[in-house]
Symmetry: C2
Subunit: 374 residues, 2 copies
């Protein structure tokens, strides 16, 4: 069984849509948030916890990290990434591009690819569009991403135009390397904050043809207003009947806003990274667990949350674990934050199903603001 996408319901009060992605490793209900499992593990959790308790349909793993360690060929010989990490559901892999720009000592970009130094040992590597696909094929990803050129924000029109052009060139080369639909391939729309370039990128990519389209180069330092404007502008440029994936986004309000703008897929390290830093998400805003006010607070983080952490532990205990730097702190906080995200996505899907997205959106903000008054 290959990749397919069906729209189940369209909301009438917004551009939100309820959908279903089919992959060789199962279905994904959209709009979906994908927990990040950078190095072949969603940090601090077991696959069973991510699957059964967090109820995640799909996770994202990083090509860059797995290529460098333990190596995609090692994983392939061990039966692929699903088997290696004991995860049975769909996996989306990024192309490695973003990590090269953010983590490694960058050497040189040409139309052929990007030469870079490993952040682990300084070894030199040359990533081409073809190699990016080869790695993702070896890993056995259900959804692969094209190699793209990421640029800093802000960038001039000229710099952005050149990177966008190269992203299209690379997208065509990635597409050539794939066969069949066992492993889907998504193109990445670039173009920075320049609407004209976004239009060209979206058009050129559709000319090549992909199983889904991602919006790249957003949430890179621009204002929320600007990000929303670019999403507003780009979504109508994309085909109706393929998934739309907003990469690296975001905060809870971003998910609510952008699902309402027609985005189907999200990923972000925010819930997992913030968990490890003691920042917990709740319906009523954030809880910074190290704060002294929680020292003897016998209440759960969120008394309406049904996650394992909230059902069994007080804020006082979570604060103690955090202060003591106990491993269980990372676990319990991560469980809570990812549970919050998956519950939010369920609420988003329910609102679309019931055709009341705009009401839902308004309630979301009212609840968040309730905390600030409390």
């Amino acid at each position: 069984m290959g990749f397919s996408f069906d729209i189940v319901k369209k909301d009438e009060t917004s551009l939100a849509r309820l959908g279903r992605i089919s992959t060789p490793h199962g279905e994904i209900q959209t709009p979906v948030f994908m927990p990040v499992g950078t190095q072949g593990t969603v940090k601090a959790l077991t696959p069973e916890e991510v699957s059964d308790h967090i109820r995640a349909d799909v996770i994202l793993c990083n090509t860059y990290h797995l290529y460098l360690r333990p190596g995609h060929e090692v994983i392939q010989r061990l039966g692929g990434l699903h088997r290696f990490m004991h995860w049975q559901k769909p996996i989306l892999t990024d192309s490695g591009g973003f990590q090269i720009y953010s983590l490694s000592a960058l050497r040189k970009i040409t139309d052929d690819g990007v030469a870079f130094q490993s952040h682990l040992d300084g070894s030199t590597h040359f990533l081409t569009p073809a190699l990016a696909i080869e790695i993702q094929q070896a890993l056995g990803a259900d959804i692969m991403m094209c190699l793209d050129e990421c640029i800093p924000y802000p960038s001039s029109f000229q710099e952005t135009a050149q990177a966008t052009e190269r992203t299209t060139l690379w997208a065509a080369r990635c597409r050539e390397k794939t066969t069949g639909t066992e492993q889907a391939l998504f193109g990445i729309v670039q173009g920075g904050m320049h609407t004209e370039l976004r239009e060209k990128s979206a058009g050129d990519l559709q000319h090549i043809g992909f199983d889904g389209y991602a919006l790249g180069g957003l949430s890179v330092g621009e204002s929320t207003q600007m990000m929303h404007a670019m999403v507003d502008h780009t979504v109508p440029l994309l085909p109706e009947h393929t998934p739309r994936y907003l990469m690296g986004v975001g905060a809870p309000a971003d998910l609510v806003e952008c699902a309402g703008r027609g985005i189907d897929m999200f990923d972000c390290v925010l819930p997992t990274r913030n968990a490890r830093n003691g920042m917990l998400f709740t319906r009523r805003g954030k809880v910074v667990i190290k704060n002294a006010c929680y020292r003897e607070d016998a209440r759960p983080v969120d008394d309406q949350c049904q996650c394992y952490t909230c059902r069994n532990y007080s804020r006082a205990y979570l604060r103690h674990l955090y202060m003591a730097k106990e491993i269980l702190s990372y676990r319990l906080n991560t469980v809570h934050n990812l549970f919050y995200y998956s519950t939010l996505m369920e609420d988003i899907r329910t609102a679309i199903r019931e055709g009341v997205y705009e009401d839902f959106r308004r309630c979301f903000y009212q609840e968040q603001e309730a905390e600030e008054e409390a």
Copy 2:
């Protein structure tokens, strides 16, 4: 229901005995190994994992750590340690003495108690026998330990005699602070490597009268031979019908040897600490998971082990997690090592039940040696 101890069966080929300790929080099958939950958490695991998967009957928590952070009074106001850490089964707390000697800047010991500086913030504290009990009562421990004076190894007869004398003085003061049997109190036999002092200590403590007797001041740097000799010498000095607890011991072979010498209870950080350092225990010896030979090893750590880790993950994946310093590495390794320990203790109890302890002991060494030849 208070504390009691019953001997179920005595082995005929050794001094080993099968027993059952009853506490307000449930029964403990002996010989037992107690996982260490220093700061109110067995590092890296949830209470459910420790209880259901590791099948631990009892854990040990550290008075010193919990007194300093978050404070025993905080824990008491939150309903006691069981509730605070979400652990329903028995808890044994040590007295804090050992940690003062090993972790804090030691100020001064007098017959009244010990003045010390916190290793966390340098604050000064004065721990008396009465306070040690008060803390353990506030925590709600099922089994409390007397405050003892720990000495370095080697120590002269004179130094050891003085510390042992003080330990007895403090034991009497601890005993005076307790009432009823809801919370049991164990005395700690000291005396270093001096048999004469061990005899005096054991006799004096029994004169005071405790619910159980621990052997302290062993596994502190002396040879295994010396440790066994001290156990051999001390066990017959203790009453038959109370539990005997060998503190801070030990390696798998130590458990096999000392259960055979009549010890009922053990605790040690070895399985949990080694797990975090990538050292895994197996029936056939140790596996150092970072070794390059495991890079593409698709086999589990131990193909006969039924733990969660061995049922689902390869050595190659465990090596990857370890090299990548992933939190899941600590979790999976800890699960395996504690499962190994609890299985070993079950095997020990089965051998006693079947009256074949000496055979079991021989087989244990044969299996361990099998690895070295392989």
